[in-house]
């Protein structure tokens, strides 16, 4: 209906007709159309309802940030909220609906909110509905009124891979300045990436220069140079949304996030055209002149048939000429300026010669809506006695009004990266001052609007950016002439007693809202933003911040350069979470014999990044029974535990022992080769953070284990400490390189003897010894440990040979009834022996003295981490103490870990570990309690439901206090 005849350079493909629907009505457009362009072509101008008052709104900028044209779409069975109609390409079968309506766009049942607006002033919600009784009802209403689109709770996860890119020079924005910058940098030898959000390069030249033949040709030549340049890559339909430290650019395309690291960055993103403020400046049909030009030149769409133009620069005149050329009647051109500039004057003459009324010193006092709800006439304002006043002239009939009264720089990325901007009174906009190293700006962001000057500015920036990366240019570029005319009006704002003169369309903020806010003391930019929510809508202030600052400066009677802007933060344009998330890698580590566990009935549990068998399923046995069977099997014969998830680290060097002396509480420099020792690691405040077994393999080689969950972080920290202390220690993380199995139980020595020639008797391989020997012909490290309280060997072998060794051990142990042991049984075995688990039997404040580990702490060393704190702690009365408790045999009282110990009505501690000991036939547990509670005969433990259970305190360990199980001779191991 409003589609113009085919024109050169249009972005649509008329051979591909596409059917879609909007609000349930069928429409069609062409390949290349956005939803906005296709709808306006079909005669639909009301695209959405506003956020607060539900006023009908149409297109404003057609530049990918029209926050009032937001739709919910259905595509391929998915419902997707909050799509921008001016960005969304139409597709066959697309169904789109305006968001934020009740009962559809036309009949929105909330449209009456518009008439209630007098009762809904800025911040009204802070001042009402806050009695405790009524707030929940009001809140429910409020939440349903806000919120734009609805999320589809059944939508699937979208997985979008990411890409990494590198460039010497990244140029953001492919308008004339960016094109010139890219060519200059590439000519100097730099590899250049040129980024633009539009599908074609050229920037404003693709719509704003139709009436300027020579300029258009100049840009076409530049586009040709860029396209043919071997060192320029063009990333189109790509939005630069964030500029982070060290020139990391977040680039967003339709289907992925691109992370571009550049040597230097040039911001040539141009400027956003800004609306004028007058009554009803939001009616459908009122739009930015650049938006109308985009519709005409890119999509061949006429957004009006009889238009008024409100201008304050040469661009308004060019838009009028474009309208005429497209067959659109121009009813009037209103120029806010009393004296148009030298570029405007000849164009004004041309227009007048064509019969167009051109009025100077004239603005719009109010727009009026017709029966359709769209604009149908404008009432004029005149500049008299220093203010805009209602004109006595008759209203002028129009069906469209295009505004070109000024621009705001698209400097968000510059400011994100730390550029300081200052107000340039000549250009009436903020421009960057000193830029951080490697960051450059050119074109309209610098307040430069004339084509020649923009190109010159781009060449300058391109040359400088290349030089920053070490590419010297042989070319010498001149400086462009200053703009002949200022593009931006300093105060394009007309007051009206009845308001509805919108400063922020996203958030429905009127001029008076700002006066009210400042009156209340919200009188700097940040407070104003937070109270009014100006700039917090979907377009993030792209069309409102500039005018809001002007209004604030006016209200406070201060010059604009003394008003600080709000902080620029990512994202410049919003980004789907799927793009940020990418494919979402979540590594899970598996030991080399993982598949065996699975086939042997493992029930898995997470352990750090690993998975470990919690226990192995047994026929006709419950979980608890299965675990108990594992415990009994190990105590009575042999058990095999996959402990390959432990952190495994090697320390090499002449000072390796001294290094370990500093990070662990015990003596390791004096540890004999061939022996191991338990180690506790503390933080600086003396709190236990990890434990492990340290083995000395050679005078300058230590091999030690850490807890599973801490291993990666701990290794990083140890490397940091070695570097910080400048110690000649090499640390090697062998966690994944080695598998480890704990073969334990009274018959373990006999089984092991079948696999090795190593002498295993107590004299040759004592408790806490370490040996390197072949097991099943595989070189292995054997540590004689006692975590589960039986004769036992940790067998560490290279991961590649782990399966062989595992199978050999299982075969050798078969005659002795070897049984696989899971984590749950291991926990019970160590509990019977009262060996602690760091993080379970300790908390965020537990020091070694509190768990009875004084023996592991050597205060006589010159230094270890936490020593200074322990020296102070040792002088204080102890805060808590680890004690053991046991119920009478056969009694089960429902005690669970973290149940509280209660003494005289107060919390006196908590249960840290508890379980039914299969070996002892009773409930046993550990508790961290106050010293007073520890002196009692029984603990009073509060269980679920609040009842208290008396649990007698018993000495630790519960099992084998004399350590006899380690002294069992081979062959005599019968329990």
């Amino acid at each position: 209906m409003n589609r113009l005849a085919a024109r050169p350079g249009e972005w649509i493909d008329r051979s591909q007709r596409i059917a879609f629907s909007f609000e349930g009505h069928a429409h069609h457009g062409y390949q290349g159309d956005t939803l906005t362009s296709a709808l306006i072509a079909s005669g639909v101008r009301t695209l959405g309802r506003s956020f607060k008052y539900h006023r009908p709104r149409g297109a404003l900028s057609v530049a990918n940030h029209d926050a009032n044209a937001i739709v919910q779409i259905r595509r391929a069975g998915r419902s997707i909220p909050n799509q921008r109609a001016d960005l969304l390409p139409i597709a066959e079968g697309l169904e789109a609906f305006a968001v934020n309506t009740q009962g559809g766009l036309a009949r929105d049942r909330r449209r009456h909110l518009d008439r209630l607006s007098a009762y809904l002033p800025v911040g009204f919600y802070y001042k009402a509905f806050h009695s405790k009784r009524l707030f929940p009802y009001w809140e429910r209403l409020f939440r349903n009124l806000t919120g734009l689109g609805a999320v589809d709770l059944d939508a699937p996860r979208v997985v979008t891979p990411k890409r990494h890119e590198f460039a010497d020079v990244a140029v953001i924005g492919a308008g004339p300045a960016g094109l010139a910058a890219a060519v200059a940098a590439a000519d100097a030898g730099a590899e250049v990436v040129l980024v633009d959000e539009n599908p074609r390069i050229g920037g404003s030249a693709t719509y704003a220069l139709a009436s300027e033949t020579a300029s258009a040709q100049r840009v076409a030549d530049l586009i040709g140079s860029v396209t043919s340049h071997p060192r320029i890559r063009r990333f189109v339909t790509t939005v630069a949304t964030g500029l982070y430290a060290d020139h990391l650019l977040a680039l967003v395309t339709q289907d992925r996030l691109l992370k571009l690291r550049a040597g230097s960055v040039i911001i040539a993103q141009g400027a956003f055209e800004q609306p004028a403020v007058f009554r009803n400046n939001d009616l459908p049909g009122v739009m930015l002149a650049s938006g109308a030009q985009r519709l005409m030149h890119r999509y061949a769409v006429a957004p009006a048939s009889r238009v008024g133009i409100l201008g304050a620069n040469v661009h308004a005149y060019r838009a009028a000429l474009d309208a005429r050329a497209a067959g659109i009647e121009v009813s009037v051109l209103l120029d806010l300026r009393e004296r148009p500039g030298p570029q405007s004057l000849p164009l004004a003459e041309t227009l007048r010669a064509q019969g167009v009324r051109v009025l100077n010193g004239t603005g719009v006092y109010a727009a009026h809506r017709g029966g359709s709800g769209d604009i149908d006439s404008i009432e004029l304002a005149e500049w008299r006695e220093g203010a805009w006043r209602r004109s006595s002239a008759n209203a002028i009939a129009v069906d469209g009004l295009w505004m070109s009264v000024g621009f705001a720089p698209a400097d968000a990325l510059l400011r994100q990266a730390g550029a300081v901007v200052q107000y340039d009174a000549r250009a009436c906009q903020f421009v960057p001052g000193v830029l951080p190293p490697g960051l450059f700006a050119c074109g309209k962001v610098n307040g430069v609007f004339d084509l020649d000057a923009r190109v010159a500015d781009g060449q300058r920036a391109g040359t400088a950016a290349a030089l920053h990366c070490g590419f010297e240019s042989r070319s010498c570029f001149g400086v462009g002439a200053p703009d002949q005319e200022t593009a931006t009006h300093p105060y394009p704002i007309v007051e009206h007693p009845e308001g509805m003169n919108f400063v922020d369309f996203d958030e429905d903020l009127q001029l008076k809202d700002f006066a009210n806010a400042v009156q209340e003391g919200f009188d700097n930019a940040e407070l104003l933003k937070r109270f009014t929510t100006v700039g917090m809508g979907l377009s993030q202030g792209k069309h409102s911040n500039a005018n809001a600052l002007r209004v604030l400066a006016q209200l406070r009677g201060m010059p604009l350069d003394s008003i600080a802007q709000t902080t620029a933060r990512p994202m410049f344009q919003s980004v789907p979470m799927s793009h940020l998330a990418g494919r979402g890698f979540s590594p899970e580590r598996r030991t080399p014999v993982d598949a065996d566990h699975e086939s042997l009935g493992a029930v898995w549990m997470p352990a750090g990044n690993w998975r470990r068998p919690a226990y192995y399923r047994r026929d006709r046995l419950t979980r608890e029974e299965s675990i108990a069977a594992e415990v009994r099997a190990l105590r009575g014969g042999i058990g095999l535990i996959d402990v390959g998830t432990l952190g495994k680290i090697e320390a090499h060097g002449s000072q390796a022992g001294e290094f370990l002396d500093r990070v662990y509480t015990g003596h390791f420099g004096s540890l004999k080769v061939g022996m191991t020792r338990y180690g506790l690691m503390l933080d600086e405040s003396g709190v236990i953070v990890d434990d492990g077994v340290i083995a000395r393999l050679a005078p300058e080689v230590f091999y030690f284990t850490t807890t599973t969950g801490n291993s990666a972080a701990l290794f990083r920290e140890l490397v940091r400490l070695a570097t910080w202390w400048r110690m000649p220690v090499s640390l090697v993380n062998l966690t994944g390189h080695f598998a480890a199995f704990n073969l334990a139980g009274p018959r373990s020595r006999e089984a092991l003897a079948r696999l090795t020639s190593l002498a295993l008797d107590d004299a040759a391989f004592p408790y806490l010894g370490v040996r390197e020997a072949k097991i099943a012909n595989v070189p292995a490290r054997l540590l004689r440990v006692g975590f589960v309280g039986e004769l036992g060997y940790e067998i560490h072998v290279p991961s590649g040979s782990a399966a062989e060794v595992w199978n050999a051990i299982r075969t050798a142990g078969a005659d002795f009834g070897i049984t696989l042991i899971g984590v749950e049984a291991q926990r019970m075995l160590r509990l019977e022996k009262a060996h602690i688990i760091v993080g379970q039997d300790t908390d965020g404040l537990t020091n070694p003295f509190e768990i009875g580990a004084d023996w592991a702490v050597k205060m006589d060393k010159p230094f270890f981490i936490g020593q200074r704190s322990l020296a102070i702690i040792a002088k204080n009365a102890p805060r808590q103490q680890l004690v053991g408790f046991a119920l009478e045999p056969g009694r089960y009282a429902g005690i669970r870990e973290c149940h509280l110990v209660i003494r005289d009505g107060d919390i006196a501690g908590r249960v840290t570990s508890v379980g039914q000991s299969p070996t002892l036939g009773r409930t046993i547990g550990l508790a961290l309690v106050t010293p007073a509670a520890a002196r009692d005969a029984t603990l009073s433990i509060r269980i679920d439901g609040g009842a208290q259970v008396a649990a007698p305190i018993v000495p630790l360990p519960f099992y084998d206090p004399a350590g006899a199980r380690q002294r069992i001779d081979s062959g005599g191991a019968r329990s």
Binding site: P81, L148, V151, P156, S574, L580, G844, R910
Partner: protein
């Protein structure tokens, strides 16, 4: 709402540094409860411009230590009446708060917190996965097969959110009406101390707008604490770490409760405007800056989609950061200090917002009476020298 005072007076009974929620709350209660109105609140920037305006507004009292639980429970009690106190709607919205547990050790911690909470009469329950699924049916408890599934949660019914800026405005307006002067864009340059044999004592402050004589100085400046401490010659074990957050575009309401997952390092709630307000754990390094990073937005999105895959197409609008003043035991530092007349309200790390009312109450008492309020005795400055720490790490680290 606020009066703009053109010049500073030459002396005030009390000077408060920091016009965030804490500083303004202290001023409000000094004026309202202690009759002290000759008070100046100074801020180098603007009202609520620090962590008050940057936090993710979660209010809860499901802490781990008795000191913490009692303190935050009093805070929640104050919160509930604040809107009516102020005659200003703070959008205090009780939503319920789920701290998800993905491992059996996390479940143990949840039970511990629940037991301690219940002991002090605070509503908290360790609940199983089935209960979580019934309460938040749209959540993928399997986490999309990435990482450990949700085994259960700590459910804290009083968990709430509020409009953070309005809290500062409400306290500011209340203080302003009672005669307190709020001076924005007023920077502290130095603190003047005198020592007459009984140790250093505050006698005045220097600012970019002139000198002020005062004998009581309250410091409530979060990330700027180390700088102010240096001015009075004190050292603390506070380290500054950035804490980042981000927000989505507005959506129709679908998420009522506040969701926290320590294993996935995320938390999320839906604001009254419909935005998803999201955060993660602290950046692991010390940094005195409020810059944002891309990897934060990336990893937070990845983890959030594990729980809520249907948010794939939902867009992130904005990210930001604050400077968190972290203590070794994840509990604050409050009260008197070795410098006479210098009172500290700091170490609030990532959990200061929810404590705003009770901090104002207790600090105003402490300043007015030159005596630590009983509720803050576990948070004393000198506890680090004596190793009498208050270990809140288990409850404070990701939950904020």
């Amino acid at each position: 709402m606020f009066t703009r005072h053109e010049r500073l007076k030459s002396a005030y009974d009390v000077v408060i540094i920091g016009a965030g929620g804490h500083g303004l709350a202290a001023a409000y209660y000094l004026a309202r409860d202690h009759g002290m109105t000759d008070v100046a609140v100074l801020d180098q920037s603007y009202i609520g411009g620090g962590n008050t305006g940057r936090n993710t507004t979660i209010i809860r009292s499901n802490y781990l230590t008795p000191d913490g639980v009692k303190f935050y429970d009093e805070s929640v009690r104050l919160w509930r009446d604040l809107s009516q106190d102020f005659d200003l709607n703070l959008f205090y919205s009780t939503r319920g708060h789920f701290t998800l547990a993905h491992t059996d050790s996390a479940m143990r911690t949840m039970r511990w917190r629940a037991e301690v909470n219940k002991h002090f009469g605070v509503q908290s329950e360790a609940v199983d996965a089935k209960t979580v699924a019934e309460a938040i049916p749209m959540m993928d408890l399997s986490c999309g097969g990435h990482g450990p599934p949700v085994l259960g949660a700590l459910y804290h019914a009083p968990g709430a959110i509020a409009r953070h800026d309005a809290v500062a405005w409400g306290y500011g307006r209340g203080a302003d009406r009672r005669g307190v002067e709020i001076h924005q864009e007023t920077q502290l340059l130095g603190v003047e101390l005198e020592d007459h044999g009984s140790g250093p004592a505050v006698v005045g402050v220097r600012t970019n707008r002139g000198r002020i004589a005062t004998r009581k100085l309250l410091c409530a400046v979060a990330g700027s604490t180390p700088g102010v401490l240096a001015m009075v010659g004190l050292r603390s074990p506070i380290h500054i770490h950035p804490l980042q957050a981000m927000v989505s575009e507005p959506l129709k309401p679908w998420l009522d409760p506040i969701i926290v997952s320590g294993s996935l390092h995320i938390y999320v709630s839906q604001s009254a405007r419909g935005e998803l307000v999201m955060g993660a754990s602290l950046d692991p390094y010390e940094l005195h800056s409020t810059r944002s990073t891309l990897d934060f937005a990336e990893s937070l999105s990845a983890h959030l989609l594990e729980l809520f895959p249907f948010l794939s197409d939902v867009r992130i609008v904005r990210q930001w950061a604050g400077m968190a003043d972290m203590t070794p035991d994840f509990a604050p530092i409050m009260g008197k200090t070795p410098v006479q007349g210098f009172y500290l309200d700091s170490g609030w790390g990532t959990w200061g917002f929810k404590a705003t009312p009770v901090c104002g109450k207790t600090m105003s008492y402490t300043v007015a009476n030159d005596q630590d309020h009983p509720l803050i005795r576990g948070f004393a400055f000198d506890r680090f020298a004596h190793y009498a720490l208050t270990g809140e790490k288990g409850a404070a680290s990701v939950g904020h």
